[in-house]
């Protein structure tokens, strides 16, 4: 009976693990192997040991690229979370005021969801690139010479890219927060309101702790998406800000495509993953424990 149950579960999980094996695990192991090889332009593989990693530590551009990537990630994710969370809480509150049924409570929010989703989903261009074009064509700047206008647009490239990322992520993140906000227990929110206190305190002590798992999910997914943004920064940053001011992924693509150094590119990938994942794994459990200690993952402890 037990064996039959295990076999049935294995059959249900088989497609997922087959997918993970083919599209995640095998390519990742292959990348690890390539990072230990000397490989130029689809040539033969030669074992190089840790030479690619040694070269990586000696690269003077790496600190500036890492710093720029961090700045890019932090600004895009922080603005997205703040914007999406405030919009979602506002939409959920409006929905609760207008109707009591959860389904009809969603109706006012659907318009916002549709607007945000449609704006991103059916807009095929890079709006940030157009933002730069708009700056170049801006009437007030038209008195300046073209080179000067191009320089001003270039200096704002980082923020144009950040705003583009926020606009790209905000739709999905807003939906995630909206689902979380609408599923919050209404009696707890009502009890906090009856007990009084300023709105920001209710937000900090009741709403946000209840939403903590949703915040965690949205932040992790946005971080993963931000670290993988390629097309928009490639157009905006590489040309505008020069060497050293590109994200890690753009540098990776340049090393792979332009120089054909696949072994070195693989070493960059593996090293950056270890740098990000190791502290996250070490801090993960301790962070959750700290949050629990503060009562953030158990909001009943914080109720007045």
């Amino acid at each position: 009976m037990k064996r039959r149950r295990d076999l049935l579960a294995a059959l249900f999980l088989l497609p997922l693990f087959l997918y993970l094996l083919l599209f995640v695990l095998l390519p990742t192991l292959d990348t690890l192997a390539i990072s230990l090889q000397h490989r130029v332009n689809y040539g033969p593989r030669q074992f190089a040991g840790l030479a690619n990693y040694v070269r990586l530590t000696a690269n003077p551009m790496m600190p500036s690229i890492a710093g720029f990537t961090f700045l890019q990630l932090a600004s895009a994710v922080a603005i997205t979370q703040a914007l999406a969370l405030s919009l979602a809480l506002g939409a959920a509150r409006l929905g609760r005021r207008l109707a009591h049924s959860p389904r009809t409570a969603l109706l006012p929010a659907i318009g916002i969801v549709a607007a945000v989703f449609l704006y991103r989903g059916f807009e095929p261009g890079f709006s940030a690139a157009r933002f730069q074009m708009f700056l170049i064509d801006f009437p007030l700047l038209s008195l300046l010479p073209f080179e000067e206008r191009w320089r001003i647009a270039g200096s704002l490239a980082h923020w144009a890219d950040t705003l583009g990322a926020v606009r790209e992520f905000a739709g999905f993140t807003f939906c995630v927060y909206l689902l979380g906000a609408l599923a919050l227990p209404r009696d707890v929110l009502d009890a906090a309101r009856v007990d009084g206190g300023p709105a920001w305190r209710r937000l900090w002590t009741v709403t946000l702790p209840l939403l903590a798992p949703t915040v965690l999910f949205a932040t992790v997914t946005d971080l993963l998406r931000a670290i993988q943004m390629l097309d928009q920064p490639q157009i905006l940053l590489s040309e505008s800000l020069g060497e050293g001011s590109s994200t890690g992924l753009i540098y990776l693509i340049e090393v792979s495509f332009r120089e054909g150094l696949f072994g070195y590119a693989a070493a960059i990938v593996v090293a950056s993953y270890v740098v990000v994942a190791l502290p996250a794994a070490l801090l993960g459990n301790n962070g959750v424990r700290w949050l629990r200690g503060k009562g953030w993952l158990n909001p009943a402890n914080r109720m007045p």
Binding site: F12, P15, D137, T221, Q234, S256, S272
Partner: protein, 229 residues
Amino acid sequence: MNGTMPFGSPETLRVVALVHGYALVALVALVGFLAICALAGHAGARMRFRWRGPLLWSALVLLLMPDQMALPSLLVSSGPGATLEGEFAWRIFGSHHMRLHLTLGVLLLQRCFRHVPLEYEEAALLEGAGPWQGFCRAALPPTTPALALLAIVVSRSLFDNIPELLSLYPGPEAGALAGGGNIGFSAVARDWRIGELAGILVGIVPLLIVFLFGLRRWSQGRVSGGICG
């Protein structure tokens, strides 16, 4: 392709052909995606088996693995002779968009299956249905709103994936297609070339209709499987 390229030129037709091929592969990817989510979500919600915790955790870790980890392997394995259509097929299934939505899908459906009354499946089993029939006929139908919700999210993501896939292709024409397609659209919009702009906008009408019809399912999907806690 640039802003002055007339619509209907060989270059623009090449883009249309690529998008058509992409749509066919995307359809297969979408169906496979929903099947994987439903099966894994059901196993996670209803089944008790050995190594359950470690298996589900390892799946989550692999699903959240950044796309970059597979990129050098992909670039090396695709080689200089790879076709753009072949790249498309590979990239759709392995893209980080798919993996992120797969994570969301498995978690959402796992939660959704937990809300489906267990009596449905038990009644089906008592009436002689096997585990597979019980899953297909009793457990799966109540989760269709959540599946529709996922289908909408994934379709939109697949639509957004096109420029990124093109910019990753190692062939000479891909960069021009990715950048040119978007800059061309910008130029069309900026120069008020109404005819071409209308043509592009008409192209998205079918997607718009699907999206609007799916909104009702969206709200039902939220009710049956909200993400919280």
